[in-house]
């Protein structure tokens, strides 16, 4: 536990569970009669409710985007970007982040209790699409009294949600920031996801997704899935720089135990993930990624899909990202230009691969800051002093 939080941290935060009782019809044809969303908010909503920012999480993310929990030494997953004086300045903005439906961190999902059966949903939890998530997030906005987001922001799968927001609810967001994303997955992307799913579903402890009944988890499968995923999040150069061919023992051991440092690293990451994440959620989230293709409803013409958007877009890509390469972001860019929409695009030079979107690379933060300044000016939040209550106190209050 940290004794003192860094000055630019929002400090101690706590999530809240919000219950929804209006049935939610899903793309798969099924519906959720009632559901819970786990939500965190930072900063203060201003009087005209114009300063709200929605943060959409990526594949394995959740509602804890910034600040610290009681007893934690590590902050939320995007603490580098959210906080007082940071790119998403909590002195100016009211920030909302949530765990998506189907997630495994408190929102309704496979590892949560189905109120109808009293048992975990398991594999019976319906498959979600990005579009479904956006509908559920719109309901969350209604609940919070937010008619229009100043911006919806996300990286990777989160960027896809931001883009879907602009398509589904054109009038409900002013700005849309899509970072390290793609308009749809490539066959290669889907292939990696399928390897991950096979690793999980072939684990002897998977029991067709009913492992909760057996008091076990498909740990090996989940670990392998994460290892494959992790490789795709890094870049060749980044891995070479970080690990090279360094060996733990300094010499060849002629056995199959991990001896290169990259092997140990992946095993450690996989291991850690397999104890913190739910296997059914991993299957569900990768499927949501595979299914995302907003152009498919518009003759496979992305420009047409974006025809009615009114949000101003900021697209950011990273040079060494091969999971969603700059080329994929440029597909979104070209469609937006083609549709005559407002868009800016930048490509950040970084060796970190896809993971770069979570790292405070100076050039990335400079662009992020500049664009957030533009948003602040757009919704007339000129000075940080406009909002009286310090963010830290409000976080405590929750």
């Amino acid at each position: 536990m940290l004794k003192k939080f860094p000055d630019d941290s929002i400090g101690l935060v706590a999530p809240q569970a919000i219950e929804f009782t209006e049935p939610l019809a899903l793309t798969c044809g099924r519906s959720l009669n009632q559901y819970t969303l786990m939500v965190e908010t930072y900063g203060e909503l201003n009087a005209d409710k114009s300063n709200a920012i929605l943060i959409c999480h990526a594949l394995s993310g959740h509602h804890h985007a910034a600040g610290y929990y009681e007893g934690d030494s590590k902050p939320g997953w995007w603490d580098s970007a959210i906080g007082p004086g940071k790119a998403i300045d909590t002195n100016k903005f009211f920030v909302v982040s949530l765990n998506n439906l189907g997630g495994c961190h408190g929102s309704s999902g496979p590892n949560q209790t189905d109120p109808q059966t009293g048992k975990p949903y398991g594999p019976d939890f319906p498959l979600m699409t990005v579009k479904d998530w956006v509908v559920s997030q719109a309901r969350l906005a209604d609940h919070l009294g937010i008619q229009q987001w100043a911006a919806v922001i996300g990286g990777s799968l989160g960027g896809m949600q931001a883009m879907q927001w602009a398509i589904s609810y054109p009038e409900r967001l002013r700005h849309c920031m899509v970072i390290a994303a793609a308009p749809k997955l490539s066959a290669q992307n889907i292939a990696f996801n399928e390897v991950a799913r096979q690793a999980i579903s072939k684990d002897p402890h998977f029991y067709d997704g009913r492992y909760y009944d057996h008091n076990v988890v498909p740990k090996t499968g989940l670990m392998l899935a994460r290892m494959v995923g992790h490789i795709t999040y890094l870049s060749d150069d980044g891995m070479r720089e970080k690990f090279g061919r360094e060996m733990n023992a300094g010499k060849l051991m002629f056995d199959f135990n991990p001896q290169f440092e990259v092997e140990s690293y992946l095993q450690y990451q996989g291991e850690r993930f397999s104890t913190a994440f739910d296997a059914n959620t991993y299957l569900l989230m990768t499927k949501a990624l595979d299914y995302f293709d907003p152009a498919s409803e518009f003759n496979h013409d992305l420009a047409q899909a974006l025809q009615h958007v009114t949000a101003k877009f900021m697209l950011i890509a990273f040079t060494t990202d091969w999971r969603f390469s700059p080329e994929r972001s440029r597909e979104i860019l070209d469609a937006l230009v083609d549709a005559g929409k407002e868009v800016s695009y930048t490509e950040v030079d970084s060796p970190q691969g896809h993971d770069a979107f979570l790292i405070p690379i100076p050039r990335y933060m400079e662009i992020f800051n500049a664009y957030m300044g533009r948003i602040a000016a757009d919704v007339s939040i000129e000075k940080p002093g406009d909002i009286k209550t310090p963010a830290k106190e409000s976080a405590h209050a929750r």
Partner: protein, 196 residues
């Protein structure tokens, strides 16, 4: 407002869709957005300029113009502008083709190497011209394709490019009546409005 930008301003139709290649900090686009209600994008690859554009509330796209503009559709802009960047392009002729493919009209400005000062610098001193306006040495200059008014107009003839307007200003971007008497000798900056 610089005189060359004032001239460009006059040539742009209200509410036009504009693409500004090598847009710098976005000042010209900002001015056109504020005063002519144009909609548009700047294209830049200089990081500081990109940041400045975003701060100026100008839509900017990071792109190396030399790598082409193939992803932009034919005739999708009313005007494509390139101010003071033609001379840094690897293939100015191909860029002009691209500009005319994308835009219904194009505006190009470039330094005139046929200006008397440049001529006398080279003629009398035997050195590549260096001035306050073009302050680089031959080895570190980003300007790799200098041309004169005559050269540019010859290119237009070869490519069947129609010159709608031509004007010249001096290095302080002032428009002086006498420069038009002998533009290739007296004009320091050329401003052309061209179309197919």
């Amino acid at each position: 407002m610089r005189a060359d930008q004032e001239i460009i301003h006059e040539w742009i139709k209200p509410a036009a869709r504009v693409l500004d290649l090598g847009c710098g900090d976005g000042k010209l686009l900002r001015h056109l957005m504020d005063n002519k209600q144009v909609r548009g994008y700047g294209i830049e690859n200089n990081h500081d300029h990109i940041t400045a554009c975003i701060k100026n509330n100008v839509n900017v796209i990071e792109k190396d113009i030399d790598k082409g503009l193939a992803s932009i559709k034919d005739n999708s802009f009313d005007s494509v502008i390139m101010t003071q960047a033609l001379q840094v392009m690897h293939r100015p002729d191909l860029i002009v083709d691209e500009m005319l493919r994308i835009g219904k009209e194009c505006i190009v400005t470039f330094p005139n190497f046929g200006h008397w000062r440049a001529r006398s610098y080279l003629g009398f001193r035997g050195h590549m011209p260096v001035s306050k306006f073009l302050s680089y040495s031959w080895y570190d200059t980003p300007n790799i394709h200098f041309c004169t008014f005559k050269d540019f107009e010859q290119l237009c003839v070869q490519k069947n490019i129609h010159i709608l307007n031509r004007t010249v200003v001096d290095n302080e971007h002032q428009h002086r009546w006498w420069t038009n008497l002998w533009p290739n000798m007296l004009g320091e900056i050329a401003i052309y409005r061209i179309t197919r």
